[in-house]
C-alpha cells in the first residue's frame, strides 16, 4: 500500500463511524523502491492530497523527517519539494501491517501490500 493510496482510505463506511479519516498505520514491513518521477503528475496530485494526513502517515512509517508541514507556495515549480512529495507518495510501500480506525480502533489488515477493507456483518 502506497501512502498515496492510504491518503484516500477511510473507515467511515462502518455504521456509526463519523470520524474515519485518516486511518492510523501500524506497519510491520515497509519497503522503499524507486519509481519514475513525473513532476507534472505530482504537482497535479497535490490538490487531491490531504497534506497533514500524508505527513502523519509518513511519520508513522518512519519516513516523515523531510516533509514541510504544509504545501509551499508555487509548489508546482518547486522541484525539490515535488521530489520529496513523490518519494513519500509513491516510493514507500507498506507491505505488512494494519490500518486502524481512529474512532473505533478497528483494524484492517494489510497483507502483501494490499489493505483488506471488507466489513463484518455487524458493521454495515
Amino acid at each position: 500500500m502506497k501512502l498515496f493510496t492510504h491518503n484516500l482510505l477511510t473507515s467511515s463506511i462502518i455504521k456509526g463511524v463519523t470520524k474515519g479519516y485518516p486511518l492510523k498505520i501500524v506497519s510491520r514491513k515497509v519497503e522503499i523502491s524507486e519509481k519514475e518521477f513525473n513532476p507534472e503528475l505530482i504537482a497535479r496530485l497535490l490538490s487531491r492530497v490531504e497534506w497533514s494526513a500524508l505527513c502523519e502517515a509518513a511519520e508513522s512509517v518512519g519516513h516523515g523527517g523531510d516533509l514541510p508541514t504544509s504545501v509551499p507556495e508555487n509548489a508546482e515549480k518547486d522541484e525539490e519539494f515535488l521530489r520529496k512529495a513523490h518519494h513519500v507518495l509513491m516510493e514507500i510501500e507498506v507491505v505488512d501491517g494494519d490500518l486502524v480506525c481512529p474512532e473505533t480502533g478497528r483494524q484492517f489488515p494489510i497483507q502483501n501490500g494490499i489493505p483488506n477493507m471488507l466489513l463484518n456483518e455487524g458493521e454495515v
Binding site: 484516500l8 477511510t10 467511515s12 503528475l41 487531491r48 489493505p115 483488506n116
Partner: protein, 259 residues
C-alpha cells in the same frame, strides 16, 4: 447469494479468469485514454487490473472483492485494496473519474444494483464522470457479438433443485439469454479431469458454490435489458446520464455528478 455464487467463485477461479481477461473493451479504453493528466481514477471491481495499466498520466487505484484478483493487480504494480463495492472506503467527492466494468450485473437484487451505482456516484467529485458497463440481455444487437455461437444448439434451461432459487436458470454459454437472472457456468481449465458436458446444478442455499470434486462453477448474473441501467441511474439525485450505448454485448452508461 453473492457470497456463494460470485465471491467464492472468483476467489477459486482468479488465476484462470485473469488469463482470459486481457483485451480491454474499446469504449472503456477510449474513456481511460482521454482522461486529463493528473486526474484520479478509481476502478470499482478492477479484476486483474486490465484497465489500471492504461494511461500512465492518470493516477489510478483499483478495488475488488476478490483478494486473489487484487494480488494479481498488486504483482503488476497497481494500487489496489479489497472491499465490497457497496461499501467503498473512500470519502465522498474524492475521485475525478470512475469505471465499473462488468461488475454491477453480479448484484442479485434491484436494491443492491442501485446501491452499487449510488456508491460509485458518492465517491465521484462534483463534475466527475463514471463509466459503467453491464452484460446485456440482448446479445445480438449489433452483429459484432462474439458471444453467441450459432452452432451451439440451445437446450431448455435446467431447473433448480432448491425452490428458493428455482427462478434462476442455468444459462448455456454462447447462446442467447432466456431470462435476466441466470447462473453462468465457468469451467476451470486448470483441472484437466474436470468438466464434461453435463452441468452440475448449483447446490441449495447454505452450501458452497461447488461440490469438492466438481470443476464447474456457477456465477450469478442479472443481465440488463435496454434502458434498465439508465433507469437505475435516474433514481439518483444530481446524476446526469451523459451517454448511453450498446457495445459488443454490453449496455454502457457514462454518467456525471452535477457540480
Amino acid at each position: 447469494m453473492e457470497e456463494f455464487h460470485v465471491h467464492q467463485v472468483y476467489e477459486k477461479i482468479a488465476e484462470h479468469f485473469s488469463n482470459t481477461r486481457h483485451t480491454a473493451w474499446p469504449a472503456v479504453r477510449r474513456f481511460v485514454e482521454a482522461l486529463s493528466p493528473g486526474s484520479l481514477l478509481i476502478d470499482v471491481g478492477c479484476g486483474n487490473g486490465k484497465y489500471l495499466g492504461i494511461n500512465s498520466t492518470v493516477l489510478k487505484v483499483g478495488c475488488d472483492r476478490s483478494m486473489n484478483l487484487c494480488s494479481i493487480c498488486q504483482s503488476r504494480g497497481h494500487n489496489v485494496f479489497v472491499c465490497d463495492c457497496l461499501f467503498i472506503p473512500l470519502r465522498d467527492d474524492t475521485c475525478d473519474f470512475a469505471i465499473s466494468i462488468a461488475v454491477i450485473h453480479h448484484m442479485s437484487t434491484e436494491e443492491r444494483r442501485l446501491q452499487a451505482v449510488k456508491e460509485i456516484f458518492r465517491v465521484l467529485r462534483p463534475g466527475g464522470q463514471a463509466l459503467i458497463t453491464v452484460w446485456a440481455f440482448e446479445q445480438e444487437r449489433d452483429r459484432k457479438s462474439t458471444y453467441i455461437n450459432r452452432k451451439t444448439e440451445q437446450t431448455a434451461p435446467s431447473s433448480q433443485p432448491d425452490e428458493s432459487i428455482s427462478h434462476i436458470g442455468i444459462h448455456q454459454n454462447r447462446t442467447p439469454f432466456q431470462q435476466q437472472d441466470v447462473f453462468v457456468p465457468w469451467k476451470d481449465q486448470r483441472n484437466p479431469s474436470g468438466g464434461g458436458t453435463a452441468a452440475a446444478p448449483p447446490p441449495s442455499e447454505g452450501a458452497t458454490a461447488t461440490a469438492p470434486t466438481s470443476q464447474e462453477y456457477f456465477r450469478f448474473y442479472h443481465v440488463f435489458k435496454e434502458g434498465e441501467l439508465e433507469l437505475v441511474c435516474q433514481q439518483i439525485c444530481n446524476l446526469i446520464v451523459v451517454q448511453s450505448f450498446y457495445e459488443e454485448g454490453n449496455w454502457c452508461v457514462l454518467l456525471e455528478k452535477q457540480s
